[in-house]
Symmetry: C2
Subunit: 321 residues, 2 copies
DNA sequence: CATAATTATACTCACTTCGAGCATAAGGAT
DNA sequence: ATCCTTATGCTCGAAGTGAGTATAATTATG
């Protein structure tokens, strides 16, 4: 018995006997420019920056930074881990593939252009996610009818009910509100219903009816959906928006950034109240008078809040209008 | 240029050229028995169940389930990913080591005993985290003085201030409230201050002054801290507590479970109000009359809530008393 | 130069949420 | 019968939050 426990302990500590796998690092890097959230891409905007984790890398994070810099020239600031998953159905070799994805946030100014990589508005990939100017027509005209048809396709009545319920929940049907955080759930439903190009790839279904939303390589669009969902959730309880802002900004610029991310509008006065009463920002003293109208005070993020307390984010005072 | 993009795309799709790594799966499996949160351990309660990810595993999750079942005989129910990290300073071979950790929740009844594995109260590992019967004496008597001493040790005054601030924030000094979610931050501070056994392991500092909290192998205690933190956060916005409950329970039993996890007491009447107004449970019709007092109605979790809507969890109506 | 248009900013109001506490109900123990 | 203990119902006040009104300070326009 003593043998057994020590063996278990050793096994828990290191596992050199295990089969080798290869590990890929994948980055979802976000910036907001001109009121549009954008994602850093390579390969004709069809892939996320990524590369294998190598022995030379000091850590997963530094490996990721290295790859993104090598492929796009972009240094990364804030990054956080998204999700790790294993793929078996990749290439035929006898090695499992593990992918570790990260979310990175960077500032507007650092955006630049290039032929090999570039920034792409994330609503190009998820046109049904932008509700800032109302419900996108794509939803009512194309997606909802097809989703409901797909739900009704199921033989089993329980299954049919389950599908309808999931569609209703994810897309805010009936009396339910649209929940901007359910980006991944929506993408997966569309995938399941074969309403995104990635779902029919490899099968010979002929070309499926033209489907909105730019597809990506492998499961990169799913990873992007995961990143967007995480960001939309996180801005509500952590002050991460500021990673995307220039050093000084007006409250409206901040609001527009939040709206771009959330894909919905917020109530202006309440938004200001929220930001101010949480002491997230301080005035720089300057004002901005660009867009015609009363000049706005400029603010900067109070870096000290990060250390001071359990900071909340931007609670998104939603506007139903 | 066309070459460059295709190359980048190919690279993003698969990376067979990458150095092989080995991947370990590590499980933090939690149950609550007799009002105590417990974690499933192996190796004399010094290690978490874990094992290498192998080719035979259909997915990371199924690999994890297989290992936990093999090492402890325990089937897993609910599991979710915690974090992935890379270790270089393990054994000397030229292969990087990646660890993927998971949080698993299981029911009380499935708990059993064995010599090779077992359930251990998680406060054995983190005695400073249990505030149900007031602030643990260990904190005021031992940890806080040492932490503050450690903060003052720093040469650089900025560094000193930073350390003090982190201690104050993580441990709720001054006017700040104790935040039960900061389990990981607290453990890491204690580690940094060399107040946990793991921090001095391998160095020949002689034996450090006796330190509260049972240590674990490698970084398993840190992983456990991550799991506890995740769970304490998650019960507030998702109805995951029910994964830990028997099929039928009284509201007090539910409350005790939440309290066990959170490490703090909640206001009874408000707790009931919260659970009931969210329609999380429904009466079974039976009552329980065991602990002396008016018999309590028994409830069961309404499984349908999971599908119905964006369910909130247990908002923890804290009691300051 | 007066007026309109536009954005900034201050305040009010109704309603909900939430921490606390009081009060009553329904069992068992003595 | 009385007390102790837990269950359960209800109220109150403070704080938070969605919405809307009102005023201020600019630029654009006629």
């Amino acid at each position: 018995m003593q043998d057994k426990t020590t063996q278990a302990t050793r096994q828990a500590q290191s596992s050199n006997q295990s089969h080798p796998v290869s590990a890929d690092l994948i980055a979802v890097v976000i910036a907001v420019t001109d009121g549009e959230p954008r994602v850093l891409t390579i390969g004709q905007a069809r892939a996320l920056p990524s590369g294998p984790f190598e022995l030379g890398h000091r850590s997963l994070q530094s490996g990721l930074r290295a790859w993104v810099e090598r492929q796009t020239g972009h240094p990364l600031g804030y990054i956080e881990q998204l999700y790790t998953f294993a793929d078996r159905d990749r290439t035929g070799d006898e090695r499992a593939q593990i992918s570790i994805s990260y979310l990175g946030l960077t500032r507007e100014e650092q955006v630049e252009r290039s032929p090999t990589h570039g920034w792409r508005g994330w609503y190009d990939y998820f046109p049904w996610e932008d509700h800032r100017v109302g419900v996108p027509p794509i939803l009512d005209d194309i997606l909802m009818p097809r989703l409901l048809a797909w739900a009704d396709e199921a033989e089993d009545p329980n299954r049919r009910h389950d599908r309808r319920q999931r569609v209703a929940y994810s897309f805010g049907l009936d009396d339910r509100d649209w929940n901007e955080e359910l980006v991944l759930q929506r993408y997966e439903l569309l995938y399941e219903a074969a309403l995104v190009a990635e779902a029919t790839r490899g099968r010979d279904n002929g070309s499926p009816p033209s489907i909105p939303g730019r597809p990506m390589v492998a499961d990169h669009r799913r990873i992007l959906a995961t990143g967007i969902a995480r960001l939309r959730t996180k801005i509500k309880y952590r002050p991460v928006v500021f990673e995307l802002m220039p050093p000084a900004f007006t409250l409206l610029q901040l609001q527009r950034t939040v709206e771009a991310l959330a894909g919905r509008l917020v109530h202006k006065q309440n938004f200001r109240r929220l930001i101010e009463q949480q002491d997230l920002v301080e005035e720089t003293g300057e004002t901005m008078s660009d867009t015609g109208g009363r000049p706005a005070k400029r603010f900067r993020f109070r870096q000290s809040v990060l250390a001071e307390r359990a900071v909340a984010g931007t609670k998104l005072p939603v506007s139903r209008a």
